[in-house]
Symmetry: C2
Subunit: 273 residues, 2 copies
């Protein structure tokens, strides 16, 4: 499938009839760039492809897409590259056009802010709605995260702890969560709400390589309260240890430290949704 | 608050960094236009204002907004006007900018297709997630409706019947639903999922004027199955009687007919999300 490409470094514009604007009908990826190269591109691309499957959205021709991504990343030294993929311009109405021409927007950004080593986290009132058809993928319907950030701005915390409407712990506003209990690492399932983060997947794989027992499972707030250690992950800022949850200090940062040593230090810009 | 206005009749473009595109961070209204004037403008404007409150989104200065709407509608004879209001251009990240300059996009369209008098409806597998913070308002996060239309395209039906994830009947993909039981008219609550349609509100008010007992309440699929009559509403196509639900014929169209006579016949274009 041929796509319309827009490189948005210095401005750039999208048709007012693009379905990404009309309905949030699309996906995005926010990728870390170091010395002009996208980090963990295969994982980002894999999630993008899964998102296309779930939304019945045509994936643009792969070799051109990858070469455009590499070209945009090459314009950045250290920073990030945001990719937005939409179903493209369409007629009015929710029904997708029979033959969509996807729009791909590439937004490279240089950035050199260092992430904070630790996070203070506060449980948010804003909940994440549950829909198995939309959970896990990084689609453009992100009002829940926007309203979570509005709430967080009035709290004395760096990140929010978000629960699903049925009360399960899902993660942060723009980070996945891991909780350590003794020798076990647990991260919430993202099959009903939440996003399957690229760094989350990298951490799960690295745990296996390091012989750390790590699983995806349902986690309740009461389990968070008795965790030995909590850390959060994001493709741009890597792994950050949580120092406090709702004011209560965590005892350990041993697993986060071990993983960070294994991956190398995070050197990256501010968090992005 | 000053806004950026974009009139999209013959193309037009939006900044790639607009939050409407990035996160669906905004609202829309699709308004019927007859002889150059928006119908039920006060109801549309009221819902838009409620949406701004809920999303903490600055409402553009009212007199300019209304005059721009009237100006755009005047370019249409019979058709419709779609308005998209976003939080405007912002830096990366879910957190809204401290001072947002909203973007207002006006998309007038001439159209003269007559709506079908009756609808055949099929229950969809696609569910509507429940979030009290987002229910009722007409925000731009509409992937559920898009996927519902993808499903509907493979069914032999004109509209879908959508349930919430907890199993309550909510409405169609782009229509609200009313069910008649004897002398009572019921429409689903939209406080956990769904959109509070302008035509839905107009019908509830008209029922009161006509002495028809009409209430908002929770409705289950089993109640739909034993309704005497079902009709659906939408600001562009008005009131349409439902002839069949999942293949089963409905006995009556008396209330829909009475309401349609009261409002005057629908003369309007194809349905729009």
């Amino acid at each position: 499938v041929r796509a319309t490409y827009i490189l948005g470094r210095d401005g750039g514009a999208v048709d007012v009839s693009d379905r990404g604007l009309a309905y949030g009908d699309g996906l995005f990826e926010t990728m870390l760039v170091r010395t002009g190269r996208v980090q963990r591109l295969a994982l980002h691309f894999d999630r993008l492809r899964q998102g296309c499957d779930r939304l019945a959205l045509p994936l643009p021709e792969t070799s051109e897409l990858l070469s455009r991504i590499e070209g945009a990343a090459a314009t950045v030294d250290n920073g990030n590259l945001k990719l937005i993929l939409t179903r493209g311009v369409g007629p009015r109405g929710y029904a997708p056009p029979a033959k969509a021409t996807p729009t791909v927007i590439l937004l490279p950004a240089s950035a050199s802010v260092s992430p904070a080593p630790t996070l203070e986290v506060a449980t948010l009132e804003m909940r994440l709605a549950e829909n198995v058809k939309l959970a896990g993928i990084k689609h453009l319907n992100r009002l829940e995260q926007v309203l979570a950030q509005v709430e967080l701005a009035n709290l004395d915390a760096d990140e929010g702890l978000m629960l699903s409407t049925s009360g399960a712990v899902i993660g942060g506003t723009s980070r996945n969560l891991f909780a350590v209990f003794g020798q076990s690492v647990k991260t919430p399932l993202v099959d009903r709400a939440g996003i399957a983060g690229v760094m989350r997947r990298a951490v799960l794989e690295r745990c296996t390589e390091l012989g750390i027992h790590a699983i995806e499972c349902e986690l309740g707030p009461e389990e968070i309260a008795r965790a030995d250690e909590i850390f959060m992950t994001n493709a741009l800022v890597g792994i950050q240890s949580v120092s406090r949850v709702d004011g209560t200090a965590l005892a350990s940062d041993a697993v986060a430290t071990r993983l960070n040593l294994s991956f190398g230090p995070p050197e990256s810009p501010a968090v992005d949704g």
